[in-house]
Subunit: 139 residues, 3 copies
């Protein structure tokens, strides 16, 4: 069984955002899979997807602080600066945290750990709506 | 053909640990696949999976040194500190090195390069046993 | 439908290189898939694959600048130095940017966003030719 669908995520401010529920609700066919995989892919180069703690908002804020310190806007080595000071750091962060997730499906649900949630990593100040391609496969 | 199974990895100290043999031995059905993929997923937010050199223990030690320098415990921007000074760095490292691996299977074996091995990245001081979900599919 | 093939990428200098066209041309069976996934895997521990902007060469140069600053050759914590000063940083960069990509296939093509391209991340000064395993599956 294969299902493939685009999911639109509404614009969000720069930062790390928990989107597990939104993604699961867009994929009702998860319930038809006894075993399989769910592949999520973001069609952008300045935003990404990663997995991390689904409980404290502190954790998501600290992700943003670390990312801004590790990939600084004012580094003197940037040459691609025409699209704004948040642009090139956003590209690097997108590659570091990743653009794609493959998640196990078991008994009709994502087989995530208790504390795991899906993060939309919005690396631009005004990134706008983001488009995912979700592909479910299994039996 | 789909096979899905949980694999328990015994507690390990903080650091990068080679677990290729342990994972392969838990998946005897690899031998039944002429072509396919093996998906490995860790159900935690402070440990991860990555691929790297399977020979020198030096390499794994240097990974830990780099990670500790790049994601420092004493950075003043951390706010999520209740669970210990190793907690928030562990979350960030888990996202950087990743939680999931998809590996090609050919002629009944993982088609890894000669020098590639699977690392369990244990980012906590006392992370305890870790649980993987392994999903094999192919024909 | 499953197709699995090795793809050889010619030697390239250290840096980030756009290889989308080369990869797609090696996989004519993409055209036979109405829905599926393409899995790309590099069989090395000092080079990798990631997705990012397919337009400005500036972006790829800035990736290299960031990587060299974030994973410095002269850090005093490296102990695995026998294979050259670019070796251990190459291993860490390979793990950070990743060794594998899973990409959605729709209507016979990779369903990449407009600005997305596949980067070969060559982290060594003289890495030589690089070998990929590509696995297509779908229907």
């Amino acid at each position: 069984m294969w299902v493939q669908r685009q999911i639109r995520l509404e614009p969000r401010p720069r930062g790390f955002h928990l989107v597990t529920r939104e993604v699961v609700e867009a994929l009702p066919e998860l319930g038809d899979l006894s075993v399989g995989l769910a592949h999520l892919f973001i069609r952008h180069t300045s935003a990404g997807l990663t997995l991390n703690e689904n409980a404290s908002p502190d954790v998501r804020r600290d992700f943003a602080s670390w990312a801004d310190a590790a990939v600084p806007e004012d580094a003197r080595y940037w040459t691609h600066t025409l699209e704004g000071s948040d642009d090139m750091p956003a590209h690097v962060k997108a590659a570091l945290f990743g653009s794609t997730l493959t998640l196990p499906v078991a008994e009709g649900r994502l087989a995530l750990g208790t504390w795991q949630g899906i993060y939309l990593c919005e690396h631009r100040d005004r990134g706008g709506a983001r488009s995912l391609v979700a592909t479910l496969y299994g039996e």
